[in-house]
Symmetry: C2
Amino acid sequence: RKEYDDEGNLIICRLSEKRRVTVQDFRGKTLVSIREYYKKDGKELPTSKGISLTEEQWSAFKKNVPDIEKAIRKMESR
Amino acid sequence: RKEYDDEGNLIICRLSEKRRVTVQDFRGKTLVSIREYYKKDGKELPTSKGISLTEEQWSAFKKNVPDIEKAIRKMESR
């Protein structure tokens, strides 16, 4: 079953209590967002702390996941 | 050859002219950041527009990449 936030965006996952990954349609363009939310009057609303990637930026990002992994492993091994 | 920013963080890739993905060591903890930068006096400095993920959050995020892809494809097909 799919979960949507109070603005109708599809919640992909939660990274922490406040942080979420969502996929949304913004004026006909698909955006992937990683963002912090806060609670107000029982609703969870997005803060400015986060970033929304266009599809093009998402594609570039995705291609670099293996390099991110490699960099983390290298950093950990120091 | 590796590229580092003016703060010594490893630049993994650029998502746009202003947006970058970096991996950094912050007080002994590894952070993956997706963030916008601006230029000042020839230096490129990070803005508050972005997010820095802990390793735990990065792991959770990574696991969900296929679901993000699926959601994008579904949105595109509408």
